[in-house]
Symmetry: D2
């Protein structure tokens, strides 16, 4: 079978760099073009020295027609907002799109407008599918465009989804999430300056982060209370999710629900009773580890992912694999870079 | 006024080193002796090179009579368990004791035994007072022995106490706490090995940590659900506390309750609305910063302390100041080492 | 004796914040004013939350006449370049100046112009003294203006000075220095972005850093080969200095030279033979630890300082103490915040 | 072509874990057995949760005959000393060995004894080859046993080798090396305790580390002055190497020498003039980046590798590829996990 021809639009941010790393090792993807703005015409190793000595196409200025002439799939790793125009032009040119920004995560323009602002191409939203494969695998296969799920939402959906779906908990989620700093992107700012980020810890956007409605929508409208925290590390999200068990539900039933939910999932490992997941054990991978803890009526679910892996580039490639009819784990079988 | 004569028992762990640092800068404390076991007879700078070039008494082998001949107060910075015998002998010799271990935090031997194991000197428990000055200031002044409050409990008590005392929340606390690694002490182990601790994150002892009953007892028996997390940094605790507001209570009322609770507290700063406390802003101090967030019926309180400062050595000196009739902030006015 | 009246110009950068922290704890300094530009009219705690809850004068717009009416000494913690005008106006108004920028470290305008660019107030350079007290103590006492020594230069001067002065090594220094990130200041940039700074390591400005001529000049014109490296930590400099011993000089002679050089220095501790200095043992202090290693004709000297302490704010206060006729260690006796 | 059958002896340390990660992704290696002591009989995910959910053979107790019945190649990732017996028995059974310990890096028993202590199986040393492929590629191809080069030596050999070989520098190397903490292994100790390792920096074994003779021998007996430093990060070595140019050699000639030396090397990238290599750009890879800096008669070469990759497991697999007649980069084409 011929490898699929893929284009990468926006290679110099962290999700772009991670996509590039993963695509270079993907046996069924052939990278036909790298597209960007600031870097157009220059070798990618200038902005990403990690690729020094690696043969790569030069960065080209984005042009939908050119992409369409060379690729069947395009990954968009551009800032939120910038993906709307790019996606619309690529869709019009017949390219299937995996968007890693927040621009195509909702298929309802009114909902999108409430969370963000009015969408420039609501017709794209009519085509889009939420890119969280464990939950929406079937829809992704045939999608023309996928809005790859956000990092925090992925961690919470995998942690809380099984219990909510099984009806063993009340329909309310408290999600206390902890993220590495790479989730904030590559543009420097006061909030990601080393000396204001290392050796310290704080929450941000408490109860007011835009990922809360994304989580809620993916979980069927459940109430979500979301508090994200910035952790002095590069990669990783730990979601500590607090759920209230329905009366009479015990730890064994909880475990049975989660075992069943994940029994066929390649990328999700339910840890043994008592084991605590750690982000370092999924670093650089598309994997998720889950731990379960019950005390009387309280269920605490802990999930860990790599925010740039399963929370971004890995999951985007998982979506691509589904769209391309490939085995879901093609090019994604890595285990963690530990330590 | 003559400085108080103080002894430090157990100087080479992290709380001991922090006590030593603080006592050297305390204008009303005169350090008359350093006591230890493994280090007896050797200069302290061998195990704590931070004191190279500083004139200090050599480490002596602990002897209650000798301590009593030279000091009126003794700080115990020895491992949990080891403080029971030392405290009993010091009390018998007339020395007032500030114990930083967990050995004298409960005045009820049966409660102590349930959380830990039977106490070797229940008669000491009859004399002890819980060393959390903002809450139990009056009892501490006259105490012969104080069990300085634990680091996690201090962070949660300061965060949740005002709301619970004012009756504006239901009597249940979910405390999602994040601690730096120094809280685990100075003895190396797999759980504090650099490569298993940096660049990653995990919870531990979920819903099963001994600080939960300590918190509960200090807060009048309220139900406490406690999940501690280990953060890749040295110092600092951030407590994210989830409380349910009584019907009809709004954000303004919450703020009024906290303003009143802390209006005369030197060491507690209530941050402006919307501001998130960060552990780096209290590093090396006896201070606590508090942030308040309300969404409908949910109150999220965030508090930050330095686990070795307000969570251990700083608070112990605050207790000492009270016991010695000194202004509560004597020797504790430092602001944070930032960055 | 009345405390000296001091003003702090530029409080919101890292050296300014450290000065503020130290001045608040200085028993013979009374802070009469905080001056800045962007923050003028606003409480300092807005830009430095570490001072939340601490009573401080509001930030005023800098005005030399106003400073002169309230203070006898002014610390300048403003960016390189900005100190030239401020210092000139303060000197004219009779205020003695301690400048922490690079603007007044050379008394020779031509030399200054070669390293940086022509100085706007060469008349200030005629008055200035290099603020490295262990080396130029006597000149500092009577100086009207001091250019506080740079962080890297301080580490190298203390390491190499004794051997060079004693003539036991050839007149050439290789200085392989390693610095924490706070040395790069508080303005965010790609080079100090957390994810490009943590968990990695690189040199910068190899053999081309402006601190090389500063070191050379302070050491009497010796040849200096200087390679600075950026270390993923906040504070601290370790200088590993390579020197060639004159024929016949052995380790015992080397040690004797250093012992004599530092025997009366409060802030410099020569570690025992075989001991390696570590930046963590001087964090937050004005101290320097030195280790000596000899192999045949090679002398390796290792020195550690806190780049914001002995390398900036601490040393500036040490200069102030000398200028004010105070004991040199007034307000500087802290031991390290460890860990 | 059939994949080669390989065994991994000692999987639970850091080099073992990295080998396991790499072997799982190696298209021409089939892992037939995992061997260990403490973990024998238990799933590897217990000690390495990064492999949770991954199908792997259980850990068996090491037995040379059993290994020989199932594998043609064995990787030894056991502590220094323990590899001597294992290697001898495997060689006797006809298995080709890649040893990652220091036990088989010298083919001269007397030299080995001087650096370490007498070798239990000098007959193995008669067979061994130093496993640094860029330098000893030809000998490795036919070797029955390879002693994979140490991490520090690899960084220094690649940095200094070309200049020394070309005779453009004096035969003396000053190597100021900086390593991440994972190089110290997985056994906890005071020197790798998080709070004594993070946020600080120190040298160790100055001029007395056993890697100095290893470097010297690989470089033909040149004099090596070696000072290793411990950096608060997990992975990575930066070697800053100081060399004296022969009279008349200039920067252009230096660059020409290095370009020629590495023109056919897949894993070594010579960075453009002025560029500084950074360990983060080779993290998780078998790559090495080199930067060159010249000032008059001084040549500073900077090289970066991943101590667990090119400095251990990656290089071991590179040796295996040579021994097995495979393309040298089989299974090693990864680019860095960045950030």
């Amino acid at each position: 079978m011929e490898p699929r021809r893929v284009a990468l639009v926006g290679a110099t941010g962290y999700t772009g760099a991670e996509l590039l790393r993963l695509l270079l090792g993907h046996p069924q993807a052939r990278l036909t073009g790298l597209y960007g703005r600031a870097q157009a015409g220059r070798p990618i190793a200038e902005s990403l020295p990690a690729f020094a000595g690696v043969a790569l196409p030069p960065v080209s200025r984005f042009d939908a027609a050119e992409v369409a002439s060379q690729a069947d799939f395009a990954f968009l790793a551009v800032p939120h907002g910038a993906a709307q125009e790019a996606a619309a032009s690529l869709l019009a040119a017949g390219v299937r799109v995996i968007d890693l920004s927040a621009d195509h995560r909702f298929d309802d323009p009114a909902f999108y407008a409430r969370v963000y602002s009015p969408h420039a191409h609501p017709e794209s939203l009519a085509l889009t599918t939420y890119g969280q494969p464990e939950r929406f695998r079937d829809r992704i296969r045939d999608a023309r465009i996928v809005g790859s799920a956000g990092c925090y939402p992925t961690s919470v959906i995998l942690a809380a989804g099984p219990a909510l779906d099984a009806g063993i908990v009340l329909p309310e989620v408290i999600a206390d999430c902890k993220s590495g700093v790479s989730g904030a992107g590559r543009v420097p700012g006061a909030g990601t300056h080393f000396s204001e980020t290392s050796e310290g810890l704080h929450a941000y956007k408490t109860l007011a982060h835009r990922h809360a409605p994304e989580i809620s929508r993916a979980l069927g409208g459940v109430r979500v209370r979301f508090v994200p925290h910035l952790i002095p590390m590069n990669r990783g999200i730990l979601a500590t999710v607090y759920l209230r068990l329905q009366p009479g539900v015990d730890a064994a039933q909880v475990r049975a629900v989660y075992e069943k939910a994940f029994e066929n999932e390649t990328f999700v490992a339910l840890l043994p009773a008592g084991a605590h997941p750690d982000t370092r054990h999924v670093r650089g991978t598309n994997r998720c580890h889950i731990g379960l803890f019950v005390d009387d009526d309280l269920l605490v679910v802990q999930s860990v992912i790599d925010n740039l892996g399963k929370g971004a580039a890995g999951q985007a490639i998982q979506c691509f694999n589904l769209m391309a009819g490939l085995p879901e784990d093609t090019g994604l079988q890595h285990t963690a870079l530990f330590p």
